[in-house]
Structure formats: structure tokens, C-alpha cells
Symmetry: C2
Amino acid sequence: MSVTAAGGFVAAGGAVGIKPGGAADLAVVATADGRAVPAAGVFTDNLAAAAAVRVSQAHLGATGGRAAAVVLSSGNANAATGRAGQDAVEALCRCVAGEMGTAPEEVLACQTGLIGVPFPIDAVVPRVPAVVAARAAGEAAGVAAASAIMTTDTVRKEAVARATGIGGARCTVGGMAKGAAMLAPNMATMLAVLTTDAAADPATLQRVLAAAVGPSFNAMTVDGCTSTNDTVLLLASGAAGPIPEAVLAGAVGEVCASLSEQMAADAEGATKLVHIRVTGAASDGEAHRAARKVADSLLVKCSLNGEDPYWGRVVSELGSAGVAFDLDRVTVRYGGVAVCARGVAAVHDAVAVAAHMKGRTIELACDLGMGDGNGAVTTTDLGHGYLDENRTTS
Amino acid sequence: MSVTAAGGFVAAGGAVGIKPGGAADLAVVATADGRAVPAAGVFTDNLAAAAAVRVSQAHLGATGGRAAAVVLSSGNANAATGRAGQDAVEALCRCVAGEMGTAPEEVLACQTGLIGVPFPIDAVVPRVPAVVAARAAGEAAGVAAASAIMTTDTVRKEAVARATGIGGARCTVGGMAKGAAMLAPNMATMLAVLTTDAAADPATLQRVLAAAVGPSFNAMTVDGCTSTNDTVLLLASGAAGPIPEAVLAGAVGEVCASLSEQMAADAEGATKLVHIRVTGAASDGEAHRAARKVADSLLVKCSLNGEDPYWGRVVSELGSAGVAFDLDRVTVRYGGVAVCARGVAAVHDAVAVAAHMKGRTIELACDLGMGDGNGAVTTTDLGHGYLDENRTTS
């Protein structure tokens, strides 16, 4: 169970003709009673943001942070599609709202797929009501929704966390997601929808969601590309009553961390899941920036693919990350074994390092020796599969 | 002829045992009479800069911008090698200076190769004098030097430009280079040495060189990595007498442009040479930043390799480049044909675009419609060959 795990939510997934061949390409997550509930969103900061991003932001603004449903479609990003693209999303929202008996502004939208291709709204609209009408509670409905947003994903991404406060108050947070950064060839974007039965106001939800996205989705980079469509949404039904914010934050953070880890693990063409940790930076911000510089390095990614613990490329990236840096203080470890200490090659157990590099998960830790700043980023290697997947869109 | 084209310079290349198998790995460029002449340098801004970079900067500082020779070695970057690495470069400079009868501070150094490997200075020193002693004027000597700095380069990179001022004053500028960004597996870095017979003071040379590096070496990106060893040097013998600064600048610019284009064209694993031009940015700086963001995009590089004119990835990169941007004003052209106009797909001659994409050189032009800022970057596609070259250092 994912988005239907928390009380008060229903879901559905089906085909509306965006993808060829009748594949599932539309999902709906909605409140069981059709009423709008507090909602929050974190969106791409790409200035070429897709129509769905702009419409969802506008709708959350118009309602003061409330939503009754989220409609998600795959197979067309509906980005760089101008005014017609915007109109298409509004039409999609009206269509869902009409079936549910709610206001169009209370429907949020997420889309993923190719950029710059007109969205076939006229063909899609007649088929949407049947999918929405099939919405239901329970595990099967959650699976149907999570399946309908898959594109080149090889597995569904779902997560559930339950938390209990000191006084015994409980809440459930469920979520589903697709993609991994702008990884896939035809279907860009990472999308995630989370639901909870906790009672919380929109401002609290926004705070909790923004805090959870930082160390999870925003700490994952596959190719360094910021999609036009990236969206993370959180809706709260209130069915389980109020819960301390810290408890809710813990559960939301857990779900976001699980979903982002699942995305990186499913990154196409990748053979390694890599955790890059930077400690000893001048600040947490600098640690994060340095970790991301290493993670996004083509040369480091190639070395990881080749299982080569070539730390020279790592220190070179750290040195050009734009953070406080003194090579003489740098330590680099693979799997806990220091291969570079005080900026020069360290005598080490090469057999242990080689064994670690052969594993599916690689731990790369860098200590800058400059301060107390810590940061971590999850990434992947760069393999031939990535190139094959991304060479052409056809 | 390259570094020996300008009067007053000699060169040599040979093997001193850094590379295995007796391959040429040491080059020297020196003044014919052994006297120090005005010199200037532009160096990597990587804070993990190699020993040779630090030593060359210190020597230029100590002499007030004068040098009698440049010693270049390939096969070991001598970066992240600590105090011992620094001592090794100083020893190399002393060795060259001793053979030439000049001061060690009047010798500059450039090195390229693997990072983090101790430099075998004790084995190298005894073999340096013979190479230095073989220095000579003329084309063969220039070729020997340019060959000795090749690593995974498939061709030598040399260029010569001649310029004449209004009053008839003439000057020659010659240069040699190796590498292309941090492209190669074992041998990182781009190095370039330019010589001229113009008479110019160090400050003028520094101004001219810095201005030339901007639109050439700094406008080329293969993998976005800033090497620990990148160095461009310019020495002026004065043999041809004074020349207006603008005339010298033109010739230096021409040589830098030619060498950088040769590097990009020889980038390993690349099948395309790509000129990315951004116009209509809010400023030249923003245009350059946007062009570089597109050039360094893994997804754009993959599309270029696949000969796919997928402009959606281009606008997505432009939108996340951190520059003033309004999707509704954006035009994207491949080979002069607009595939995106006003931020949406443009009706275009798909056959003409497909033919352009199949060529060795691709012209990708983006107009942001925001102002008068222009910028250009030369890059390559990302192919399987790059991965194969860079997976392991062994």
C-alpha cells in the first residue's frame, strides 16, 4: 500500500491514450469523500517549468493550500507547449473535478514524458472520467496508481511509514514516485505524491515537506539535470487527528528517503548506487555543494562504473567545487578505507577497497578538515546503458 | 612549426622514464640565448592545483613575469603529492636551469598525467640534461616538443599566426598544446605553451593572454571538469621588436582559438564537434553561462551522440542555468533551422535538420530574447568511447 495506506484516500490508475498501445498512463489520488484537504507542494525551480507545475502552483495559491485530488499522467511532459499546454492541464483538472464534484482549483496535476510535444488533450478528456470513477481505497488501487506513473522505471516505487507520538497519537504517511532525476529517455522527471491521515494545516505541511525533500530527493542526483516537471506533493486527510509536527516530519522524511533511494537504485544504465558523504566542510551548505560536485562529475561516474577507486578525480572535483578547501587536510575513503590522507596517497588495504568497489553499493566519504559541515548525496555510476537509453527519443 | 616558429626560441622533446616503455615524456621550450624574457601564465583555478602550477605561479611572481624556459612532462600529474611533489618540480626546474645556465626561478613547469601518484624525480633527473642539451631551432624541434607532451591525443596540436601592424611592424605567435579538458583516462589536463617574437612587457603579455584564453580554452568544455594542472603560458623574445598590443592580441587569440578547436576535435570517444551559441541573453556573462550549462548537460550530450535534435533538453538546461529566462521568448536552431520558436515546437524542415545532425560538426544556436548578451562554447557529444577511455586508469 502506498498512497492509499493513510486513511481517507482513494486512488486509481488506467489508460487514456497518451502512451501508444493502451499502456496505463493516468493516475488519480483523491480524498475518499471528495472534499479538499490541506496540501503542500515542492516544485522544480527550472524556469522552463512545465504547464502542470505552473497550474498546480496556481491552484495551491488560489485555495490557500488545499486539494481534493491529484491527477498524474505519463507519456508527455507537456512542457514547452505554450498557452495550449496550460489550457490542456486546466481541462484535465476540470475533467477530474467534474467527475468528483469538486472545484477545478482543488485538483493538482503532475505530468512526465517528452518535452515540446503538444499534449493530446482532446483525445484524452473523454477517457478520463472512467479512470476517476474507478477510484477506490485499499492496496490494489494504490498499486494501480503507482503503476500508471511508471515510465522506463523497472519497478514501482512505494513507501509507507507509521509514527506514534508520545501521547499515543498515531499517523500514517504513504507515498508513490516515478523516475530518477532526468534519467529516462522519453519520460523525464521525478514525481512523488504523499498522503497522510494526520491533521495538519497547509503551512505545517509545507514546512514538513520542504524539510523532508532536502535530504532525500534534493540529495539525489543521477545526471545533474533539473527537470521541467519535478514535483512532490503532500495531502493530509486529518482522519487520524492531530499529531506533533516532529512526529509527522519524521514519517514524511522516512517516506521521502525511501522513495528517493528506490529511484536511485532503479536508475537506468546504472550498475552502482553511490552514497557520497562530505564531512569537515566549512558549513553544511558547502558540504552538500562539494558532495554534489563529486556526484555530478562525468569522470568520477566513469571511475565508479569501472570500479576504479581513482581518488585523484575526487580531490580534483572537491578543489573546484567553490568551497573552502585545503588539499593538505583532505581524506578520501572508499568503504571506510582511507585511500588519500592529508591530500596524498595513503597506504591502504587495496584488496578490501577492490572488494568494496565490486559491490552494488559504494560508500565514498570525503573529509575536508575545514570545519563541522556535513552533507550527503546519493548518485549512480555512468554506464553504457545510460547512453543507450538517452541517445534518441525515438 | 609551432613553438619554434617565432624567432628567439628553441625546443626539444625526449624520454626521461616517466611513461613506461621509453615513450617521449619531456619537452622543453627555451629562449635561444638562455636569457629570461617577459612571460605570462593563466592557470587552473582548481584549489587542488598541482605542484607544477604552484611552482610556476611562484616563479613568475619571483621574477616579476620573466622566464627563460618551460619544462613540460607527461605521464604523471604530480598533483595531490604533497611537499614531495613540490620539491620534485623545483628539482626539475633546477636541473633544466643548470643545463641552460639560468636561474631555477626562470624555469616554468607544466605536468600532466595521473593524480595522486608520487613523481619519480630521482629516476628522471639524470635523464633531463640530455633532452635539454638537444634543444634546437626549427620545425623538427617544435615537432619533437609537441609530440612529447601528447598523451592520449591522437594528433599533435600546433598553430602559428603572423600579424602585421599598420606601420609594417610584424610578429609571429606559435603554440603547442595537449589534451582537451580532463578528457583522457590516465593523462588529465590541457597544457599550452605559446611563444612570440614580439617585444612586450609582462603586464601586456598577461593582459593579452588572459583576453585570448576567455573565448578559446575557457569556451571549450568536454566534460565540465576543471583539471588540477591546466596551464597556458606565453613567452615573448622581443626579436621582432615592438608591435601594437591589438595586433599581438589578434595573433595570440588566433593561436589560442586554433589550439582549442584542435583539442575539441580530438576529444576521445567523441563523434561530434559542437558549437553552442547563445544570443539574446541579459548579458555576455549570462550567455556564456547558459551555453556552458547546455554544453555540460549529460542528456544534451547523449542526444548529440544519437543525432537527435531533441530541443526539449536544451530549453530545460537553459531554464535551469540561473540566467534571466522567459520560455515564451526562446528560439532553438540546429544548423540554422529553428526547431523551437517562442518556446514551442516550430514547423521546420526535418530533413534538413536530420542531415545537419549527421555531420561531424553541429551548430546549436539558442536565442533567449532577453537582451544583447552573446556567448559561445565548443563541446563534444558523449559516446561509448568516452566511457571506455575513462572507466579505469589501469
